[in-house]
């Protein structure tokens, strides 16, 4: 597996104002790096830029990115499709509602070059098992709306991993899910990352998620990077005032509800 390096990413709005201003960071194999910011900070726009999915209205002005030693972005524009898979927030919207889940995975595998009917079903079962779905047959034959949000999210992760990407971007993968399901999905992400030594860019606004899953953090605000560093430094020794404010707001005076005081 390889590392992702991004530098100098600048994207302009139609008015000429920079939406992203000189964004750059680095993710090593097996690392989960958190990209944190409030709404409007530009974190999602960054992931769109990395995968070449920027909306037409904005103009990439600068930026270089490479996966290992292969450069795939220059001038802010993606020059060759990188082997990056992306997991989105709303799984139900990302999956085709009119097609059974198994069929959608099958189509993806065929596009990736798999052959043979029996072989396919077996592969689908193992892909689903990898994301913790034991009853693969029931899930295969179901439509997305018949499955819960958490199940759909697992399917989406399964599909993202089926392509065996060299890097994974997860954009708010657990926002909107029940809190117990979120915990399960995060554990899943952590375990597949560790197993495959793949790097992950985890985009979120939830500092709890960042504190517990990421090793390094990039803090964004209004399209710029305010601070970058190891997770413990960011939470306990942040240098930038905005970062300090952000951390403080996540830990209100009365209670940090955590595992410590709870029966184990």
């Amino acid at each position: 597996m390889t590392s992702l390096t991004l530098s100098g990413l600048t994207v302009l709005a139609p008015s000429g104002r920079p939406i992203l201003d000189d964004i750059g960071f680095h993710v090593d194999p097996g690392e989960i790096v958190g990209l944190v910011g409030e709404s409007g900070s530009g974190k999602s726009m960054t992931s769109l830029a990395l995968t070449g999915m920027l909306p037409d209205a904005v103009t990439p002005a600068a930026g270089t990115a490479s996966l290992g030693d292969q450069t795939f972005m220059s001038g802010g524009k993606v020059t060759r499709r990188p082997e990056i898979s992306m997991v989105f927030q709303n799984a139900k919207a990302a999956l085709n509602p009119t097609m059974r889940v198994g069929k959608q995975i099958e189509r993806l595998l065929v596009k990736l070059g798999a052959t043979g009917r029996g072989d396919l079903t077996g592969r689908i079962r193992s892909i689903l098992a990898e994301v913790g779905i034991a009853d693969a047959d029931r899930v295969r034959k179901a439509y997305p709306h018949q499955l819960s949000g958490g199940m759909n999210q697992r399917v989406m992760i399964a599909m993202a991993l089926a392509a065996e990407p060299r890097f994974l971007i997860a954009d708010e993968p657990t926002t909107g899910l029940d809190v117990t399901v979120q915990a399960q999905i995060l554990r899943l992400l952590a375990s597949t990352t560790a197993d495959s030594n793949r790097g992950v860019l985890l985009i979120t606004h939830d500092l709890g998620v960042v504190a517990q899953t990421c090793s390094r953090v990039v803090v964004m605000y209004h399209g710029r990077i305010m601070e970058t560093g190891p997770v413990d430094d960011i939470f306990h020794a942040a240098k930038d005032p905005y970062t300090r404010e952000l951390i403080a707001s996540a830990n209100p005076d009365d209670v940090v509800v955590g595992a410590e005081g709870v029966l184990s």
Partner: protein
């Protein structure tokens, strides 16, 4: 962690702010040409329909010496078989067609939207009955329905308006109802129910005002069709009767003359219908786009 050095050619060139502003203004104007043209035509018609008859009368006076004259500086659209100036008559006719079209659109909108909102709010058998009636009504082309109604009521401008209005009410009901069904499940409606407000009041005070948008936009387009329908009805001899100046009636009167080579008797009233209907259509298109 090492970061590759940034190539200075990657730095963005500072953009002049003025250019995007001008570009956007230009895009807005050229994108909305239809709207301005439509509005222009409509305004011109409204002005002319008052100004021309004030100066030149209603064009009712028949002058046997001036029959079937081709268009000229004295008679812009020529004269008809009775020697009446077609331009003056066309401008007088504008009043009827525009007023009737607007009446159809407005009355249809008011009645249709109220019924649609009530239907969605109450549901149950009331909704079922309303839906089946609109289904049946919409099985007929609007013109045919208008024809049947107007013919049974008797031939007059008023009855033509009634016939056409009734023919379009089902569309207004449908449009309002589908929007109302969505609004019905909004939290503020639930809050109203919790506060004890009666369903009828909720329908009229909450649901209706928030469901008007699609019907409102469609009203302009329906006004365009109403012009075509009313003209069509008079062409067939139903609704507005001669000697009242009305574009469709004028075409009917002029058809015979066209065969004798006097093309202008039917052409210009037809052109008026086209202009008026198109102007409503262009305005409606712009409204629809701005609400999307």
């Amino acid at each position: 962690m090492t970061m590759p050095t940034i190539d200075s050619s990657d730095r963005p060139v500072p953009v002049v702010k003025l250019r995007p502003q001008m570009k956007r203004l230009w895009q807005w104007h050229t994108g909305n040409i239809g709207f301005f043209v439509g509005l222009g035509i409509l305004v011109a018609l409204v002005v002319l329909t008052f100004v021309v008859p004030a100066i030149a009368g209603n064009g009712e006076i028949a002058d046997p010496a001036q029959t079937l004259l081709p268009p000229s500086p004295q008679h812009l659209f020529g004269t008809d078989q009775f020697g009446r100036d077609i331009f003056v008559r066309s401008m007088a006719a504008a009043k009827i067609d525009l007023v009737l079209a607007l009446t159809v659109a407005i009355v249809g909108l008011v009645i249709g939207s109220i019924v649609g909102a009530l239907s969605a709010a109450f549901g149950g058998w009331f909704d079922l009955v309303v839906m089946r009636i609109t289904d049946i009504a919409m099985a007929f082309p609007a013109f045919v329905l208008a024809l049947i109604i107007t013919a049974s009521l008797g031939n007059s401008a008023t009855n033509a308006a009634i016939g056409v209005t009734i023919a379009y009410i089902p569309q207004f009901i449908r449009l309002t109802r589908s929007q109302a069904l969505e609004i019905r499940s909004a939290d503020f409606v639930a809050a109203s129910r919790v506060s004890g407000t009666k369903t009828f009041v909720i329908a009229v005070a909450h649901i209706l005002p928030n469901s008007l948008r699609p019907a409102f936009v469609q009203a302009s387009l329906i006004a365009a069709w109403a012009i075509l329908d009313i003209a069509g009805l008079s062409f067939l001899g139903v609704g507005v009767q001669p000697p009242t100046a009305e574009w469709g009636a004028m075409i009917a009167e002029g058809t015979g003359d066209v065969l004798r080579g006097a093309w202008w008797t039917a052409f210009f009233p037809g052109l008026m219908i086209l202009a008026a209907a198109a102007s409503f259509q262009m305005i409606g298109d712009r409204l629809e786009r701005s609400f999307r």
